[in-house]
């Protein structure tokens, strides 16, 4: 009975459970709060998109979840549970059991994430050799199969080629093949398509999606592009200044976004139906200084809808109508104050002023 219960519990246990994760870097300027109290969960087989501008802490978040940050000047706190086990702060000796086999990562730039002096085949075969104790011949055969899985034509010939002999898209495919080699249950994709051209982007995202379904793998897709995550994720977390500012299932987020920041990100995507020479909407200002973050809402200095309360008091993460949707904003999209300001902005009564604190 009790055994059954624990089994039941394990069934419902999320693959990844992050509670109040903080990653701070000690620097000469002071403590950089790159990730500041992030909580999220990820179920098996699901895809979570982490969206934010450059410097919002999304890469640091994914690297601290994986335990890949250098330990010397990094301070982490909170909890990261993988399959129910605490993994935050584990020494690399123990993390090595997870790396490659349980979780792996696809990096942003396929030009630098492959060893330029090692043949593609060798690079895929190495983890197989190391983790799964495969013989050389087996590893080579598996590597060829993996290359075919990621739709690389002439897989057998590619095994003996060097990275510089492949195009960017091909290299990213090879990188994905390497990350998938040992059958991880969790794949981090850190801006996997940013360095690629648009036509290849869609193919790579589709490939990651296919592999996720085939292998019942969970994926954390980190990107700055809301358009990228729209069609490929189950849930989206929007980060700003090291904090989670909005989190919702993908369809809910796009239908009812609450945070003006999310809305601005959305508006900054050029639309096909816009007439030509339409001025592209941008978010004025810069991401906040993470050594001395603003006192209130971190987005307030750049937010056209900010009021006094936003500058003095930090909004907590609260639940929207949908139970899975949460956001951190005092005057969310659709609130009376928001609508009032929107009307003022549209009528031109109030000039868009940027609070330069």
């Amino acid at each position: 009975m009790s055994e059954l219960q624990t089994e039941m519990r394990q069934e419902h246990q999320p693959l990844l459970e992050v509670t109040d994760l903080r990653t701070h870097f000690r620097t000469e300027r002071g403590l950089v709060r790159a990730v500041d109290g992030v909580s999220l969960t990820l179920e098996r087989g699901k895809c979570l998109g982490i969206v934010g501008e450059s410097g919002s802490g999304k890469t640091v978040l994914s690297r601290s979840l994986m335990g890949l940050l250098p330990s010397s000047n990094t301070v982490t706190s909170g909890s990261v549970k993988f399959e129910g086990k605490e993994i935050l702060g584990l020494p690399s000796k123990q993390m090595r059991r997870l790396w490659g086999r349980e979780m792996s990562m696809v990096f942003q730039n396929p030009m630098t994430s492959l060893n330029p002096l090692m043949k593609i085949g060798q690079q895929i075969a190495e983890p197989l050799n190391l983790h799964l104790d495969m013989s050389r011949a087996d590893a080579r055969a598996t590597a060829e199969r993996l290359l075919r899985d990621v739709r690389i034509p002439e897989a057998a010939r590619r095994l003996d080629q060097y990275p510089h002999e492949l195009s960017g898209g091909m290299r990213q495919r090879a990188m994905i093949a390497i990350a998938l080699a040992c059958g991880p249950t969790l794949l981090f994709a850190d801006e996997p398509t940013t360095a690629l051209d648009v036509t290849v982007q869609a193919q790579i995202l589709q490939l990651i999606g296919e592999q996720r379904r085939d292998r019942n793998m969970s994926v954390v897709l980190v990107t700055h592009d809301l358009g990228v995550v729209a069609g490929h994720t189950d849930e989206i977390a929007v980060m700003y200044g090291g904090k989670l500012v909005e989190k919702a299932p993908t369809s809910v987020l796009f239908a009812h976004m609450k945070m003006p920041y999310t809305m601005s990100l959305m508006r900054s995507i050029p639309k096909l139906e816009d007439p030509s020479h339409t001025r592209l909407a941008t978010i004025p200002g810069r991401p906040p200084d993470l050594v001395h973050p603003p006192k209130g809402c971190r987005f307030a200095p750049r937010c056209a809808y900010a009021r006094d309360k936003c500058i003095t008091e930090e909004p907590p993460l609260r639940q929207a109508e949908d139970p899975n949707h949460s956001y951190a904003c005092w005057y969310p999209v659709g609130s009376p104050e928001f609508n009032q300001r929107e009307a003022e902005l549209n009528s031109g009564a109030v000039p868009v002023t940027l609070e330069a604190r």
Partner: protein, 298 residues
């Protein structure tokens, strides 16, 4: 390499070594390598070559002075003890090349290891090793070498090691800088994210990449070591009781009269030393530019 028509929209970029854009090391490089190979050959097979005994005094009765200019019998002439300069130059290459090779091999091994460790682990390891390099570089190297040869013996191996120690710092600094440059590349983090241990990362990921600029420095460093050995020999501080280029130069230039009247005694060893060092420098330089260009197109 065959270039087949790609089957998808993704076209493999042509390798930066195809057809018209092909980068070569150039004819000069191969001439230099050829010269160096000849040097190595004569050094290895000196005893088997049909040349006169380098220690034999070719004194003929009734001749005025023992030293004679180049002739059919003695291509580079004979020195003041009537010994064959050509044969001595050939034998001298043994010491020069051995010293150059051992010195730079030792420098590469020790300096390379320390440099890679410093660049990879950083922190206090880096601070200690970098300080060591700094101390070594701050010594006037010739003074250090003279001091050590005076204190220790003057066997071939000792001289090589002294010059090897002097090579540690520059090699180590290059290895450290190159390692740091590559350790931040994503493929190193990627290897770690796949569960590779530090040892594996250093040997499989970093070492091959660091070895490229190191190979260029090895050739240049060997040239420096050979010159340094020549300098020590000129001061009478190189390997005892053996023929060295530096020793021959010293013999041929002990007074201005010798240089004026029997210039061949010093000229030929100087010429061979110059050509060898030049070949090493030139080849090292070519290797460096060759791989630099490759790096950019990557």
């Amino acid at each position: 390499m065959s270039t087949e028509t790609p089957t998808t929209t993704e076209v493999a970029t042509p390798a930066p070594g195809d057809a018209a854009t092909k980068k070569t090391l150039g004819i000069g490089f191969w001439i230099c390598i050829g010269w160096l190979l000849v040097m190595v050959f004569i050094a290895v097979f000196a005893t088997r070559l049909p040349i006169p005994d380098p220690k034999f005094n070719f004194i003929e009765p009734g001749q005025a002075g023992p030293s004679k200019g180049p002739s059919a019998a003695h291509w580079f002439g004979t020195d003041k003890d009537a010994r064959d300069v050509f044969a001595r130059t050939v034998y001298g290459s043994r010491v020069s090349l051995t010293v150059g090779f051992i010195a730079i091999a030792f420098g590469m091994f020790v300096g390379g290891t320390l440099g890679i460790l410093a660049g990879f682990f950083r922190g206090w390891i880096d601070r200690i090793f970098s300080f060591m390099f700094l101390v070594l570089l701050s010594f006037p190297s010739l003074v250090l070498a003279i001091m050590l040869t005076a204190l220790l013996d003057r066997k071939l191996f000792t001289i090589s090691m002294i010059l090897g120690v002097l090579a540690v710092a520059p090699v180590g600094r290059l290895a450290r800088a190159t390692t740091m440059q590559y350790a931040d590349r994503e493929f190193v983090i990627a290897a770690r994210s796949l569960g590779a241990k530090n040892k594996r990362i250093i040997i499989r990921e970093l070492l091959p990449n660091v070895a490229i600029p190191m190979s260029a420095l090895a050739l240049l460093g060997m040239a420096v070591a050979i010159v340094a050995e020549g300098g020590l020999a000129f001061l009478g501080l190189s390997v005892e009781r053996s023929i060295t280029w530096g020793g021959m130069i010293q013999l041929g230039s002990d007074s201005s009269k010798t240089l004026q009247n029997q210039p061949w005694i010093a000229f030929f060893p100087i010429g061979v030393l110059f050509l060898t060092v030049f070949a090493l420098n030139f080849a090292g330089d070519r290797v460096r530019t060759y791989f630099d260009v490759k790096e950019i197109s990557l």
